[in-house]
Point group: C2
Chain length 299, copies 2
């Protein structure tokens, strides 16, 4: 585990570096856009995220034998979708959060209208970047657009946010909770891995089922760990007020399973994720290490 | 003019019918999405819009010799972008409008969080529909995705909304006002025509410059007429409180040019739009009639 975590930190660090540089370059392309809008987009997108989704995308590209280079723009597009969802999720009419990653949220640092527009433009940018991604043929880019849209729209991430809003204060079963998370965060995590694999074009097909299984287990594990951190972590480390989910009466894994039950569920999901990669060779080591990282992270 | 208007009403009516049927079909595809979210999307998208952008897309497809069928899904994708922009534009933090097309706006009929999510999901749906549009090859669909994203993002429509927000209460020059409108509404109108022409693949290239000139003049004409209607129309006909732009101290053409000056500018733009189609035959009659319609409409 220790060794894997070291491996992950190197891999994650290298991903963060290349993704941050590429995001900066992509944002600079639209230099004619209004300054305040561009600043809000950059504030949200370059605000020090862990780049877990881009790293999963780049890790999956490595599994199918591709270099980081071909998957870099798609990885940035996925991060732009993630960033837009956070900006809108934090809005007063949604979760009403003032703090994200230890900094004021976009509607606090700028204003609410700018936050709405910055989120909108980040979503559009994701599809524009994907459509213009270099080194990939039209068919592959189009498959990625379709994959990202399916995962992030009404049947995926946004649908999950709608389920989340509707479930505040309600007693959910474990099945209901998992359905919500599979949509809200799981779909984009699965798409991250699948889009990375799609860099290999048709050759990706044989690896897609295993990679999808890995990503589905990892996506839920990520959420269980998030819930555990929310009750166990402290505000300074996790970057948002500790206990904020419970305070809003949101359903969580520890509330349904108890803390020990949630920890045990987390271990099961980690095993499922690792088992899914059993037929892959050392080229899947970054993804293996990412799974260990997700369940052991402290924020 | 009368004849053209009759022609337009037949063309627009036929477009409305096929676009409404296709939008209903496309929305029904995502039957697994949460009900309230789907209802809000349908409320916004099927709420009786004039379908001017889809009609321009279908009209342009006819100019390059293509049938309505191939341009129908792209036309619906454009309308989804338009609908999402209206939902978000009406939000309390933006224009704070309670009424749209004579009905309560989405955040009034549902709630603010649902309106944010419905707008987000409508944008995603637009790109998903385009990526999966039938009867078009991957390269064409990808070009359409790139075109729609460029026109609707930070350098296009959303950028224009940011300029609009920043310009409330400010004295704008005519150049500034046109820059704002070229982004806020012009870019999507131009993209509607260009995407329609792209149904012809590479054969579209020779027609694109003329069609773009037509669309740029029409986009501005549309806005001048909107400003004139805002001070001349009545609430029952235009579907929003008359004088609402002036009341918010938004810059308008009549404020800058006077009512007569704005009317004269409108006629010039109409001439530019019609002149751009001079080399096209009768296949461009629907677009010619659309231009007459836009400047003579009463709402």
């Amino acid at each position: 585990m220790e060794q894997n975590t070291d491996h992950t930190l190197v891999f994650l660090g290298s991903c963060q570096e290349s993704v941050d540089a590429e995001l900066t370059r992509l944002l600079d392309q639209a230099s004619a856009a209004p300054a305040r809008l561009r600043e809000a987009m950059a504030y949200s997108l370059l605000g020090g995220g862990k780049r877990i989704r881009p790293a999963l995308c780049l890790g999956a590209a490595q599994v199918v034998g591709n270099s980081v280079e071909e998957a870099l723009v798609p990885a940035c597009a996925i991060e732009a979708i993630h960033a837009y969802s956070l900006v809108h999720d934090d809005l007063p009419a949604m979760d009403d959060d003032d703090l994200r990653r230890g900094r004021p949220t976009v509607h606090i640092a700028f204003d609410e209208a700018t936050a709405i527009l910055a989120g909108d433009a980040l979503q559009t940018a994701a599809f524009e970047w994907l459509a213009n991604a270099p080194q990939l043929d039209a068919d592959t880019r189009l498959k990625m657009v379709a994959e990202l849209a399916r995962a992030s729209g009404q049947s995926g991430m946004v649908g999950g946010q709608a389920i989340d809003l509707a479930s505040v204060g309600k007693a959910l079963s474990l099945d209901d909770l998992e359905t919500m998370h599979r949509h809200k965060t799981g779909a984009l995590i699965e798409a991250s891995v699948r889009i990375g694999a799609l860099t290999a074009g048709d050759h990706a097909r044989e690896r897609l089922p295993a990679l999808s299984r890995y990503a589905r287990a990892l996506g839920l594990a990520f959420q269980v760990q998030d819930d555990l951190l929310d009750i166990e972590g402290d505000t300074a480390v996790i970057g948002k007020p500790q206990g904020s989910d419970a305070a809003r009466d949101k359903p969580t894994y520890p509330a349904l399973l108890g803390v020990d039950g949630a920890r045990s569920h987390l271990r099961d999901l980690l095993t499922q994720a690792q088992d899914a990669l059993a037929d892959c060779g050392t080229e899947a080591d970054p993804l293996r290490a990412m799974a260990d990282f997700v369940v052991s992270r402290s924020h």
